[in-house]
């Protein structure tokens, strides 16, 4: 087990280093200059600005400064938001994004599993068809379309919920649902087929023959056995949810990290892009590592050989 964790940790560190370095060098390869937009600035001031941001040093020196700063948690100043450091922007934006992401994860897992279980227990009846419908809709409609649709129906036409922003609980309902729909759809589908597999097993017959109550059969024998393969699809969903926050935050004007990221890309704010990319990349890698380790604990078979499956 320790060997397994050490291996995962090593991979995670290597990957973070690759992500961080790739971000740095690719940003350098982009044609243009971070100060390109400052047209009215006289050359002398531009030169001073370059010095201020450290752009006058040779590339490898910039790279080592960048690595050192990252290791000590300093990510530099934003070019676009004057006098705001990337750290500040991340510190302000990330809690909101994390809150949105967690809400979506929780809603998605609960609703998805529930829908899958109910569908499997009512195989080929109304609930089953409903869950298949949700599953297909959820994987077929892009997040921003769902978000826009929700905004239009519940915000503009019915006026039940606020159209945008992130202030009260009512503000969080639509973004959370829009973000979690894909997860709900996928989990419902996986849980349904996994449950159907389990329901056909002999030990369910045995449990029935023993005279267990239906609730006990469903809870202790069916759900517990069916849920294990389903958990393994949650790992990739962390990445999908994080990507989703970019879109959902932009659509709903939520001041989270995702919205800043999309803006920084549009405004070519290099330090902000590098900083947030490195941050997101590291978060994802660490999350995946934790998920992998969790799988290793839950299911010992994964520890021995994951790739041969």
């Amino acid at each position: 087990m320790i060997k397994y964790i050490a291996k995962k940790l090593f991979y995670a560190i290597v990957t973070i280093w690759i992500v961080v370095s790739a971000t740095f060098f690719m940003m350098q390869a982009i044609p243009g200059d971070p100060l390109m937009n400052e047209k009215r600035v006289v050359p002398e001031i531009k030169e001073n600005l370059r010095k201020y941001y450290g752009l006058d040093k040779p590339l490898h020196e910039q790279y080592f400064i960048y690595l050192k700063n990252l290791a000590t948690g300093k990510m530099g100043m934003s070019f676009q938001y004057k006098n705001r450091t990337v750290n500040e922007i991340i510190a302000n934006g990330f809690p909101i994004s994390a809150s949105l992401g967690m809400r979506a994860m929780i809603v998605g897992i609960i609703a998805g599993l529930l829908l899958g279980v109910v569908a499997a227990l009512n195989h080929n009846r109304g609930w089953d068809r409903f869950s298949i419908f949700v599953a297909i809709i959820g994987v077929s409609i892009p997040g921003f379309v769902i978000a826009a649709l929700l905004q239009w129906v519940f915000g503009v036409k019915l006026r039940w919920l606020p159209v945008a922003q992130w202030k009260s609980f009512a503000h969080t309902i639509m973004p959370t649902f829009a973000l979690s729909l894909g997860l709900i759809a996928n989990l419902a589908r996986f849980m349904r087929s996994s449950m159907l597999d389990v329901i056909g097993q002999d030990y369910i017959k045995t449990a029935k023959a023993k005279g267990l109550s239906p609730f006990e059969i469903v809870w202790r024998h069916q759900i517990r056995n069916a849920i294990l393969p389903v958990i393994t699809i949650l790992g990739p969903w962390i990445a999908i949810i994080i990507t989703g926050t970019f879109v959902i935050e932009t659509v709903f004007a939520i001041p989270g990290l995702g919205k800043f990221y999309v803006q920084s890309i549009n405004m070519q704010d290099y330090t902000l892009i590098t900083g947030i990319t490195a941050f997101f990349g590291s978060i994802l890698v660490i999350m995946n590592m934790l998920v992998d380790i969790a799988y290793g604990i839950i299911d010992p078979r994964i520890r021995i050989s994951k790739r041969s499956s």
Binding site: Y11, A12, S140, I141, A148, I265, I273
Partner: protein, 305 residues
């Protein structure tokens, strides 16, 4: 009830009859096609998709306007006004034409992305799985490390470096997606490689290339095709996402994603500008997903009845 001897008749054995082949012999693909046809949902999806593809080809030619023709006297018109079936956008461009031009771009990105992914994945995974041993170990370790790099980071960085454009998007999508395909193919190859027919082929003197391309890959084609069918909507989705964050195909070119994200901004005032692109993206996604599901069932020989 009385059972008497007279109720039974001795038929005897007819060896020829019992060994005759009752079912017509079918190739793998014929069999799969037969099963896919009997799946009503998949068949409808196939028809919808064919219509979308046909419209993508002829749609832009059905009008005298081109996708980039602006008419500032016809800005943001509702569907039907002035002969614009789907209305116009904020620059007075005809949305009907733009949607079918967008269909070309989106479908092209989807298919091209999937094909490149297929080629790289099959070659890489096939070689790793077939050679095995150290080569496999090293090749798969590389895949493992690349796999942990978040896709999105790579796609965004690549596009920022190469500049947004049709080819860039396809390359970025293919470069991030081939890993999954490589793993799939390698796993399949590893399994098949040990089977007797490969040994037989080798005994007959087939070389490595022939075994990979004539024996291993055709036998692994089922899961590969299924993955490809899901790769196409995946690529279209990624493109829509990129358009949304401002890294999509550059204007005045249009894709379903860029049309929908442009429409999203004017949602409250001109809802049809998002309605039509969203409708067609969803329809295409839906069809690809249903066909993928259908193919998965159809191509699985264990389900053969």
């Amino acid at each position: 009830m009385e059972i008497s001897r007279e109720d039974f008749v001795y038929i005897g054995k007819n060896i020829q009859e019992s060994q005759a082949i009752v079912r017509p012999s079918m190739t793998y693909l014929q069999d799969a096609w037969r099963r896919l046809k009997s799946n009503r949902a998949a068949f409808v999806a196939l028809i919808i998709l064919s219509i979308l593809v046909a419209m993508a080809i002829v749609g832009p030619m059905m009008y005298s306007y081109s996708y980039s023709d602006q008419d500032l006297s016809m800005v943001d018109k509702a569907p039907g006004v002035g002969g614009h079936i789907f209305g116009t956008d904020s620059l007075g461009r005809d949305l009907f034409v733009r949607i079918w031009v967008g269909a070309r771009i989106s479908l092209f990105i989807g298919i091209a992305g999937a094909v490149i992914e297929f080629l790289i994945g099959v070659i890489y995974g096939g070689i790793a799985g077939y050679i095995g041993g150290y080569a496999d170990e090293i090749m798969m370790r590389i895949v493992d490390i690349l796999y942990t790099i978040p896709n999105l980071v790579v796609v965004i960085l690549l596009i920022m470096v190469m500049g947004p454009g049709l080819h860039t998007i396809i390359i970025a999508i293919a470069l991030t997606n081939w890993l999954g395909m490589a793993r799939l193919v390698r796993g399949q190859t590893l399994q098949l490689r040990e089977q007797e027919f490969v040994l037989a082929a080798r005994t007959l003197g087939a070389d490595g290339k022939r075994i990979i391309f004539k024996h291993l890959i055709p036998n692994a084609i089922g899961p590969i095709i299924v993955r490809l069918t899901f790769a196409i909507p995946g690529a279209i989705f990624t493109e829509a996402f990129l358009s949304f964050i401002g890294l999509g195909v550059p204007a005045p070119l249009a894709s379903w994603g860029s049309l929908a994200s442009a429409g999203q901004r004017t949602l409250t005032t001109y809802p049809w500008q998002i309605f039509f692109p969203a409708l067609f993206i969803s329809l295409a996604m839906l069809s690809f997903n249903i066909i993928g599901d259908g193919l998965r069932d159809a191509l699985d020989p264990r389900l053969r009845k």
